[in-house]
């Protein structure tokens, strides 16, 4: 068993909420991410699914070192990334990349595609211009684009092609982990499948790991090996993709599956058991955060916050029902 590539333990991020008067007073915390644990193995895809306010965007910012955690640890290759500086920080930045949702603002409008893709090479390596161009051509072919497009500007490409360029850029420095934040949500349906297949193919070929963040259950389940379901800053359930689809245990996960759109008009639809909206992260409910909306809530749930426990091999859930 090889050690996990990325390990997250007790990760917490609280944002202070201040009234913008003078002097500034703090009135509370937004508990965007509240004690999450997960691991990503080399060559696997961890899917993260949740609705607005669940903390998936903040989690990605923490992993990408765009924000610092309030507490908890992130370990890459066994090393804590919190104190990284200098060459070690650069090494992390080289091996962990991101692809964002909006293909139209991910590429610098005044740079040619070749320069955009080559930029990480310029930052991290001292390859000659010719060597850089070779590598750029290599990754362009990997993502299914012709090497000649390196001379063009981003505005000459469609949304799907731009995402491919973004993926190429994310791969160029032999990246080991790519955080994909809703990478296909802004694309046309017919292009989505192209990109999804491309991502899977790249993983098979290069052994790169993905953290795939999304809101569409079917899409996330398709590409992920394991899925983490997040609600209001916590992971409520984590399991292998197919296992989760067959036996969702947490009531929130079950609600997500019920709410998911059918693939066929005749698909059996269960009645939606969830109501209301996601409460504010500023003052989350006591005990189990899901209890006000939970159809199976018990008295205990308002008081005690459940710990995430493993209830079946590889399948853990944070719920008092188990």
């Amino acid at each position: 068993m090889s050690p996990p590539l990325l390990e997250v333990e007790g990760l917490t991020k609280h944002f202070p909420v201040t009234i913008a008067l003078f002097p500034r007073r703090q009135i509370g915390w937004v508990k965007a991410v509240d004690g999450i644990d997960f691991a990503v193995d080399p060559g696997e895809t961890l899917g993260v699914i949740g609705e607005s306010g669940c903390g998936k965007t903040t989690t990605s910012k923490l992993i990408l070192l765009q924000e610092g955690p309030t507490s908890g640890a992130i370990r890459f290759d066994g090393e804590d990334i919190a104190g990284l500086a200098g060459p070690e920080l650069m090494r992390y930045r080289r091996e962990v990349q991101v692809v964002f949702q909006d293909p139209y603002s991910s590429l610098s409008p005044r740079m040619r595609v070749g320069e955009i893709i080559a930029e990480p090479l310029q930052i991290h390596t001292d390859l000659s211009r010719a060597a850089q161009q070779e590598r750029v051509a290599e990754v362009l072919e990997l993502v299914g684009l012709r090497p000649e497009v390196a001379a063009l500007f981003p505005h000459e490409f469609s949304g799907g092609q731009r995402q491919r360029i973004a993926i190429a850029r994310a791969l160029v420095t032999n990246t080991r982990l790519i955080v994909l934040d809703e990478p296909v949500s802004a694309l046309d349906v017919s292009i989505r499948a192209q990109i999804m297949n491309q991502l899977e193919e790249l993983q098979a070929r290069l052994g790169v790991s993905y953290i795939f963040i999304g809101h569409d259950l079917a899409t996330v389940a398709h590409i992920s090996h394991r899925i983490a379901v997040m609600y209001l800053g916590q992971i409520v359930e984590m399991a292998e993709s197919l296992e989760l689809c067959e036996k969702p245990l947490h009531p929130y996960t079950q609600a997500l599956f019920t709410a998911a759109l059918p693939a066929h008009p005749d698909d059996k639809r269960e009645k939606l058991t969830i109501s209301g909206e996601v409460p504010s992260a500023l003052s989350p409910p006591s005990g189990c955060r899901f209890h006000p909306r939970c159809p199976k809530a018990m008295a205990r749930c308002a008081v005690d916050a459940p710990e995430r426990k493993e209830v079946a091999p590889g399948h853990s859930v944070a719920c008092h029902l188990y």
Binding site: Q161, D188, S190, I191, N197, L256, A260, A263, P265
Partner: protein, 339 residues
């Protein structure tokens, strides 16, 4: 029984100032909708579904013009009506729900004012009856504590709630048809599910017909009786939802269905090769042929007409003609995925 809405050979073009260049955003579109039915119009960016809706409600941008066809609604041809006549139809008989609720709601007016407006203008309800009507509507869209919410403003509400308010406004005039353009795209999954359930209930209660414009076949599977698939301004296949899901005739429909990831299955997705077309320079013959895994030589030369598959089911594809049959390759996943 007379259909509620009958669109026949609708053509809407974007014209340049001199008439020199023309984009055929909607090209020979025909469909029928009966009372209480739900029609889904499905397609990707640029296929013409939004323009079709705008043509029906008379809200086309200045550069666009209906150049042909008829839009028969309750006996009148909407394409011929003047702007002031259309204004009387909009809100009272046909309502529209758009994608972004914040764009549909005026931040300066209270919820009450906005929900009451259609009832005020189109049904001439006043005073206490008006207040009652607004309460009824807010109840109908399941807004909790409506009396209090009435006095609030859009910025005080969440996205899901705003979209329901938009729904209430749409219903306020008592329309017979609601045109909903991607109403749930910006909503969370569970909120979307609640909203769609609500729409279904409202339809059963009021008997209103709905046109759902979306790129998401899942919504169609959930909500619609009929389906029209659009590509490059034309309807390429239309018919009952079950028929199209069970045995799609047009390769584009097949492709769209095959590219949907199915929960609990790791089967490789079918990816339609290529890009959606540039409306300014469409391919010859059938607009889909460059991306079609079942294309024949005829497809690049001659554009197929609407071929009747059975009943109201039609497909714009040479393969739908009995002499050709479906190709042996069919949905050739391996060949398509390679690109």
């Amino acid at each position: 029984m007379q259909p509620l809405l009958e669109v026949t050979n609708l053509e809407t073009h974007y014209v340049s100032f001199g008439g020199a260049r023309v984009i055929k955003a909607v090209d020979d579109v025909s469909f029928t909708l009966n009372e209480g039915e739900t029609l889904g119009i499905v397609g990707e960016s640029g296929c013409g579904k939004t323009t079709t809706c705008l043509s029906i409600v008379g809200l086309l941008p200045p550069a666009a013009r209906i150049v042909g066809g008829r839009i028969e609604f309750a006996g009148k041809d909407l394409a011929q009506l003047s702007q002031s006549e259309m204004r009387r139809v909009r809100g009272a008989q046909i309502a529209m729900i758009l994608q972004d609720p914040m764009a549909s709601l005026n931040p300066l007016f209270s919820i009450y004012t906005q929900v009451a407006e259609p009832a005020y203008y189109h049904r001439s309800i006043r005073g206490r009856s008006l207040r009652q009507r607004v309460r009824q509507l807010l109840d109908a869209v399941r807004i909790p504590s409506p009396a209090q919410r009435m006095r609030e403003y859009p910025h005080q509400m969440s996205g899901g709630m705003r979209q329901r308010i938009v729904g209430a406004i749409a219903l306020a005039g008592g329309p017979r048809l609601i045109v909903a353009d991607e109403p749930t795209t910006n909503l969370d999954v569970t909120i979307q599910a609640q909203y769609l359930d609500l729409l279904k209930e409202l339809q059963q209660e009021t008997g209103v017909a709905v046109i759902f414009v979306t790129h998401n076949l899942g919504i169609v599977a959930r909500m619609c009786d009929k389906l029209a698939v659009m590509y490059a301004g034309k309807i390429v296949e239309a018919g009952a939802v079950r028929d199209l899901f069970n045995s799609p005739q047009h390769p584009y429909t097949k492709g769209l269905l095959g590219s949907m990831p199915k929960l609990g299955s790791k089967e490789k997705l079918f990816a339609i090769p290529g890009q959606p077309p540039d409306l300014a320079s469409l391919p010859s013959g059938c607009a889909f042929h460059p991306r079609c895994t079942e294309a024949m030589p005829r497809c690049s030369i001659e554009e197929p007409g609407e071929i009747r598959v059975g009943g109201e089911w039609r497909a714009r594809c040479w393969r739908a003609e009995p002499q050709y049959g479906q190709s042996a390759k069919g949905l050739d996943v391996a060949a398509a995925v390679g690109s």
